[in-house]
Amino acid sequence: MKLVGFFLLLAGWAIVLAALGVIGSGVPLTAFVLSGTGVEILGLALVIRSHLVRRHEDGA
């Protein structure tokens, strides 16, 4: 789960970079940048969740 989370963090950043490189300006740029950031937040949530699960498995 942690690896998937970090993959989503990087993928979200890649979406932001790709939006800048390919779209360049306007409403679609805004939409893609916000989407990329959303993917990052999802990734961060997964990384957090993976640490919570590990803590419960460790018993504290």
Partner: protein
């Protein structure tokens, strides 16, 4: 393109302001020490000194070579016909750099202190269980790679600063005082360290409920808060002049905004803890104070005092609530509150630039004198910067520290944690003439 020249009076003012910045380092060291246990106080102060030394040395060795400064040689790639400046191309060891009061030399002077400040932040998350050797190694990675690369993008005329010129996003990513490259970068590294280290022994019960392990010296913490304010006045003012082209006269506005943000954040934290617990909490109020400084850093030169108060109040509230969230809900043991104070509040400060800042028509954060630009799209440039911190800097710093953990374990062994890092790693305590209380917090 040559680096922008500064008038002599501006250079002198900058030198004075930069000389205040080590006070922020000293203040943060005192805060971290006061929030830790008494049997790790000498270790924390020594670790802070080592961090300062290693960060400065590594930055001198190779950090500035990667970071560079606005208008200095850098490597670029063309993306859809637009140049993306991605890393500096300076020689190592500051060779061929004239240290004569020019803007680039003042930037080096400021950066040697700034990188130490950034590297000191994770110490707050690793209190009482982070080995000295691992601290020094982690600092070298931060000062030699993570910090210079990101700081180049923001302060060296890199692609984040170019977002305005290349894509019409306001003035590009703007961060006058280092909310991103110093605070959030340090705060995210603190999160990575806290996760890798795990909580202190006895912090959580077998049911997962956190136990309170109070800091040993509130006086050190409060003295640290006052010193940190002095350092931040220099950091925000010198950063605004060197990295956004602010005029020396704006130092008055920056000082007022910085102080108001700290004061309002501290009061917000005191009020919230008063409502929560029936009396103000010392450590959370101190955290709130510093979080106000952090939140003010990015926008300090471009907001009105009333907006600084608002930014401070939100920063203080966010920090107070997120400290509890990290400890209770996420099980992250961060004794110094470094993640909430520096990462959470820093991210809010960066967003606040897009929401409140009234930027001048020219912000000198890229090479040459850019054409006059408006504020349209500024918030999106700030979001791109935040996305870069979360999507690039955090995985990078987590990965580097995880790899380091394989060759140089971060966490001290259980016996060392029971004895205290002072005795275990240094052989003597900070307070040898005092008999300290028994180990009621640590599981045997």
């Amino acid at each position: 393109m040559p680096a922008p020249a500064l008038p002599e009076t501006t250079s002198i003012l900058c030198v004075f302001l930069i000389l205040l910045v080590p006070l922020a380092v000293a203040g943060l060291a005192l805060i971290n020490t006061g929030l830790g246990r008494s049997h790790g106080a000498a270790h924390m102060m020594l670790a802070s000194l080592c961090v300062f030394a290693v960060a400065g040395g590594v930055y001198f060795l190779c950090g500035f070579a990667w970071q560079g400064y606005i208008g200095m040689p850098a490597h670029s790639v063309a993306v859809s016909g637009k140049p993306w400046n991605w890393i500096g191309a300076q020689p190592f060891l500051l060779l061929h750099l004239e240290l004569n009061g020019s803007a680039s030399s003042l930037a080096v002077m400021l950066q040697i202190f700034s990188v130490a400040l950034a590297a000191l932040i994770p110490l707050g998350a690793g209190i009482d269980r982070w080995r000295l050797a691992a601290i020094c190694s982690s600092t070298a990675l931060l000062a030699g790679w993570t910090y210079p690369v990101f700081a180049h993008w923001v302060w060296g005329g890199g692609w984040l600063a170019q977002l305005g010129v290349n894509y019409g996003l306001g003035h590009g990513f703007v961060d006058a005082g280092g909310a991103s490259s110093i605070q959030v970068l340090g705060g995210l590294t603190a999160l990575a360290i806290a996760w890798i280290l795990g909580p202190r022994r006895g912090k959580y019960s077998t049911e997962g409920m956190p136990n309170a392990i109070p800091g040993h010296n509130a006086v050190l913490v409060m003295l640290g808060c006052l010193l940190v304010l002095m350092g931040w006045l220099g950091l925000n003012s010198a950063g605004a002049i060197l990295f956004t082209g602010s005029q020396p006269g704006q130092t008055v506005l920056i000082a007022i905004n910085t102080t108001l943000a700290a004061a309002s954040a501290g009061m917000a934290a005191a009020l919230i803890t008063r409502l929560q617990f029936g009396r103000p909490d010392v450590s959370l109020t101190a955290n709130g104070w510093v979080s106000g400084l952090v939140a003010s850093s990015a926008a300090c030169a471009f907001i009105a005092p009333v907006e600084a108060v608002l930014i401070g109040i939100v920063g203080g509230a966010l920090t107070t609530l997120s400290v509890e969230w990290f400890e209770l809900r996420l099980g992250v043991d961060d004794p110094g509150g470094a993640i909430s104070v520096h990462a959470v509040s820093g991210l809010w400060g960066l967003l606040a630039v897009g929401l409140f800042a009234d930027l001048p028509t020219r912000v000198l954060n890229v090479a040459g004198a850019p054409a006059e630009r408006g504020n349209a799209g500024q918030w999106l440039a700030q979001v791109v910067g935040i996305a870069t911190l979360l999507g690039f800097v955090f995985p990078l710093t987590y990965g580097l520290n995880l790899a380091l953990n394989l060759v140089c374990p971060h966490r001290v062994v259980a016996e060392g944690e029971r004895q205290g890092l002072d005795l275990y790693e240094l052989g003597a305590g900070a307070y040898p003439e005092f008999v300290t209380h028994t180990e009621e917090f640590t599981q045997r």
